[in-house]
Each structure stands twice: as C-alpha cells, then as structure tokens.
Amino acid sequence: MTIGAMAPSPDEAEQLLRRARRDGQALGRLYDRHYDGVYRYCVHRLFLREAAEDVTSEVFLQVARQIRTFAGATESDFRNWLYAVAGRQVAAYLRKAARRKALLEAAAYQGRLTASRTEDCQDELDWPSLYQAIAGLSEREQTVVTLRGFEELPYEQIAVVLNVKPAAARVVFSRALKKLKKRLLKSMGSARGDTSCLATKRNSRRPWRS
C-alpha cells in the first residue's frame, strides 16, 4: 500500500473510514490511498496491465456498492477487506480458462524475449518465468506469495485476509517457495534450447512491457 507523507493518524483514518460510508469525498480519499496497493497486487497476480486494470476496477466498484455495510473499524480492516475482495475478483477473472491461457502465453512470450537478452546470466530470475511458476500454485499459495513476496505484508495481516492463523500463512508461504524453486529449476532446465513455443502467438497478445 502506498501511504503518502500526508497520511492521517490512526484516529483520523478511522474517522475517514466512518465518513466514507456516506460521503463520496471521504471515499475518494480512501481510494487515493489504496488504489496503488490494489493495482500492484493485481499486476502481480495477473501479469498483464489490462487484466490488472479490469480487476482493480471491479474491486473498487464492489467497494463503492458495499462500503455502507462494511463492518470494519480501522484502516487496516479496510485494507484487509480490499485484498480479500481483490483475491476473489482475481480468482473470478482467472476462472475463465481462456483468460488464464492468455496470461500464461503472454508471460511465456515475454519470458522468451527476456531469456534472449540475458543469455549470459541464465540463472537470473526473470519476472515472466516467475509469474508462470506462481500461476501453477494453488490460489491460496498465489495469494500468500503475492502478499508476502511482493507486497511484504506481515503474516498477521495475510492471515486476516485469508482467514487463517498467522502460523498457517507462514507455512503456506514456505511450502509455496519450495514449489516455486522446484518449478523454476525444472523450467530453466527444459527451456534452454527450446525456441519454438508460441511463435504463432507472438503478435496476437500485447506482452507485458518490461
């Protein structure tokens, strides 16, 4: 989450949240404070900018419709709610197999470009490869990896988002890292020398700009 220099005190943030239930201006301020975080989370889950923007839009439109009945009291509650909504919206987005396929194709294509630029340092981790590996994890593992690995949220907060205990979140992350490492090592081994994939798809998707 991005909180600027003018971030309000916890008391002010609570007041802002209370007002946001009935006052558009206050809701707008909350939006300004949390848009970046939600968008970034969506980028890390969805790879493509367009997909991330679509899902970010769904998240905040849902917030606009439901803020009046939101039961949380603190800005932390609000942030956890945002991530929970974002997680569900991402899952809903990915449920369409065609979308998932498009994202993976874009990542694969971008990965090939990246690999061709870094032939002399092939052990370096690149984002498209990592994204492909993350996409192979379970939904829960993907959420934890994104929130912990990219957003650097504390386990206590991830636990609230996922409705589990902090220790469980820690275990999920640890297991996910092992799986990721295994997948990446496997894909690095098999990808070297493989230059054929997705040649026909090259121009059909706009890849993530690097």
């Binding site: 848009y35 970046d36 923007e53 009945t69 370096e124 981790l125 690149d126 984002w127 990592l130 650097e152």
Partner: protein
C-alpha cells in the same frame, strides 16, 4: 536461485516488474467508483421512469399487474434470505468447519422447507462466488447476482422469464446464503448441539439462537466437512443438506440472460427501500380487492397475479404514473416485508375486507415482545402474546410461482 524467504525477497527486488499504474486509469476509475457509490446511495439514481404508456393503459392493460406479480416472485425468493441473521465472528469451536466453508469457492446443496413436519417444497441450490446463486424448484429456476442486485426467474413450463434489478440492497441479510452461512459459523453464541448420524458420517453439531430462530449446523466429526444446516422457527423448518463444496460449476449456470426460447415478460427495477408495515397492509388490501373483497385462503405468491388481474385499480385513486409506480413499489415492498417477517400468522381465510375486530395477520417485529395484529378493516394494534388469537392456520407462505 532462492532458498528461503530472504533470498526470495532479494530475487524479487531485482525483478523488472512494471507495477506503476496509469494515471488515466486511476482517474477514470475514481470517477466511476464515486458514480457507483452515489447510485448505490440513491443520491443520483434517476427517478423511476415508468415504462407504462399512460395512466389509462396502466389500469386497463394489466401490465401493472404483471409487473406486480413478477415483483411478488422476485421478492418472495429474495425475502427467504432475510431470515438469516448473522452475528459477530470469533468462534473458536467451529474454527475447522468455518475454515472449510470459508475456503469454498462453489457449493451445491439441497434446500427443503418443512411445515408442520411435512415437506412443503424442495429444490437444488448452486452457489459460486462472488455472490452468484441458482435455485431450482419444480417449474422455476431463480438466478441471483447479489453483488449487482440482479435476479432472473425462469418459469420452465411456461418458458417465461422475469428479470429484476433491486437497488439499495444494503441490508447485510440480503446476501447469498453461503455468504451468510460463513458469517454465522463462528458466532460467539454457538453452543454444542451433540452428535448425530447424517446420511452416514457421525456429525457434530453447533447451535445458534437468534430472535425467534434456532439454527443448527452439523459437520463431519472427523473431517469438519459441512453436512447439514437446519433452521427452525415455529412450525417451519428449513434444511440445507447434501453439501458438495468446490465442485466445478459452469459459468453458464449463473447467466442472467434468459435462454433464447424464453419470452421475457417483465424487467423490473425497484428499490429495496425500507419495507414497512403499511406496504404489507396495502398488499393484503389489494389482494382482497382482487378476491371479491374477501381475504385469500393463503398468502401464496403464486395466487397473487390472478387476484391482481381482477382488481379495480380506480378504487386506489391513482392519479398519475408516478403514483402508480409508487403503488407498484409498495406492493413489492409488501411482499418483501411479508417474507422477511418471521413468527407470522395468517388467518384471513373466509374473512371479508372491512370486518371490524377480526384479525387476519399478525407478526412479531424484531426484538419486540408484543405482536402487531392487522385486522380485516386494516387497523393495527399491539397485542401481547398471551392475548393473540388462537388460530394458526397459515404461518408460512408457499414458494413463489407463476
């Protein structure tokens, strides 16, 4: 390659991920979000534009009645949900069950209503997040999108579709059943309900008590899989059973677009508003007017459309389209109020509209100890439980139909 969390963090820090948002998108979404907020709040909602050609046609072409009947169908099925009354979270004893339910992304279950120990109706429910639900009973399929407040009712024999969009669904009870189930499991008020066999597995139960309702949740004592949820109030019992969580459910099951061979009869827009007793009084008045000034045998939504078709609407002194729309909305809210009220009794069978001192309906509002009794002359009184009429002929309306 990373071997632990710290190394992973370092690897991630070196990645070239462009996560910088576009200011255009941020600004555009801000505008859309605030517009959606205003609309949800009703501030900028456009005044309900009537689709009726004119007051005369309103009265004579029966379109109004069709709309009201569709409203009856929709609010009937929606209203059932309002019996749920979630409480605060934090239960510990139910943690395993709750975790299992909380993780579910789809759910299928059987829903059965009992009255006086007999099955009144039974149907299949499919649920998928976020807030999508499909409920099938013989002759009728209802599909909900709770987030958008959109519903469509498909009458499978008549091949007709009735769609509705209900704004202001801000009551927390107006959510899909699984959402509310998730809220309920974990309630502080949970108490142990012992064990029983539920279609094989030994089940462990927890009980919740909520203002006239008792809810019992049964889960597999070994695996914490949800097996059955029961609701009981008065002589009415609702059972959700045969749960299957996380089954693959096609998106098309939740499509709000009626099949091509269905005739779209009504497209209703209404505000949930704040249903009030006066709306219910208007509903039973109109119902009686369409029934030869006699109250119907039961408040069965399936019978309302035929009664409404016989109403002489001029008796309501409707002077404008706007007033007609208000009456229509009030009837819709009346159904909402009717099906949202638990602990209710209908005793209007054989009673003439206008009869004094003759109770036709009573219910207990919220946390009140006393009941509100509506008489045949449409007057209302507060009555303590011990002074209620003895008749309890009709406590639960049948499901909606055409």
């Amino acid at each position: 390659m990373f071997g632990n969390e710290e190394e992973f963090a370092k690897a991630v820090a070196k990645l070239n991920v462009d996560a910088q948002p576009r200011p255009e998108h941020q600004a555009e979404l801000r505008r859309r979000m605030l517009a959606a907020f205003d609309q949800a709040r009703g501030e900028t909602a456009a005044p309900g534009g009537s689709r009726l050609a004119g007051l005369r046609s309103l009265i004579v072409n029966r379109r109004f009645m069709r709309v009201a009947a569709a409203a009856a169908i929709v609010v009937c099925v929606v209203g059932v949900v309002a019996v749920w009354n979630p409480t605060a979270r934090s239960g510990v004893a139910l943690a395993a069950v709750r975790q299992r339910v909380e993780q579910a992304r789809t759910a299928c279950f059987k829903l059965t209503w009992y009255r006086d120990g007999k099955v009144e109706y039974s149907g299949e429910v499919k649920w998928r997040e976020p807030g999508l639900m499909r409920w099938e009973v013989p002759g009728m399929i209802t599909i909900y999108d709770w987030d958008k407040g959109k519903f469509v009712v498909l009458m499978t024999e008549a091949r007709t579709a009735h769609s509705a969009e209900i704004s202001d669904l801000d009551n927390p009870y107006h959510r899909d059943w699984i959402h509310n189930l998730k809220e309920m499991i974990g309630s502080e008020s949970a108490e142990e309900a012992g064990r029983k066999d539920v279609s094989g597995p030994q089940a462990k139960g927890w009980r919740f008590r909520e203002e006239g309702w008792v809810c019992t949740i049964w889960a597999d004592a070994k695996t914490a899989e949800l097996l059955e949820v029961e609701f009981q109030t008065g002589n009415t019992r609702m059972v959700m059973s045969e749960f299957v969580l996380d089954a693959e459910l096609e998106e098309s099951l939740f499509s709000l677009t009626p099949p091509a061979d269905y005739a779209c009869h009504t497209q209703l827009q209404m505000k949930a508003g704040e249903p009030a007793e006066k709306d219910l009084i208007l509903l039973v008045r109109v119902w009686a007017m369409g029934n030869g000034d006699a109250f119907p045998d039961s408040l069965d939504a399936r019978q309302f459309s035929s009664a409404a078709a016989k109403v002489d609407w001029t008796r309501l002194e409707i002077k404008s389209q706007e007033e007609a729309k208000q009456v229509q909305d009030a009837i819709s809210r009346g159904f909402w109020f009717l099906y949202s009220a638990y602990d209710r009794t209908y005793a209007g069978k054989g009673v003439r509209l206008g009869q004094k001192e003759t109770p036709v309906f009573w219910y207990r509002p919220g946390k009140s100890k006393n009941y509100r009794v509506i008489y045949a002359d449409l007057s209302v009184k507060d009555v303590p439980p011990e002074e209620l009429p003895k008749t309890r002929s009709e406590t639960q309306p049948a499901p909606a139909g055409d």
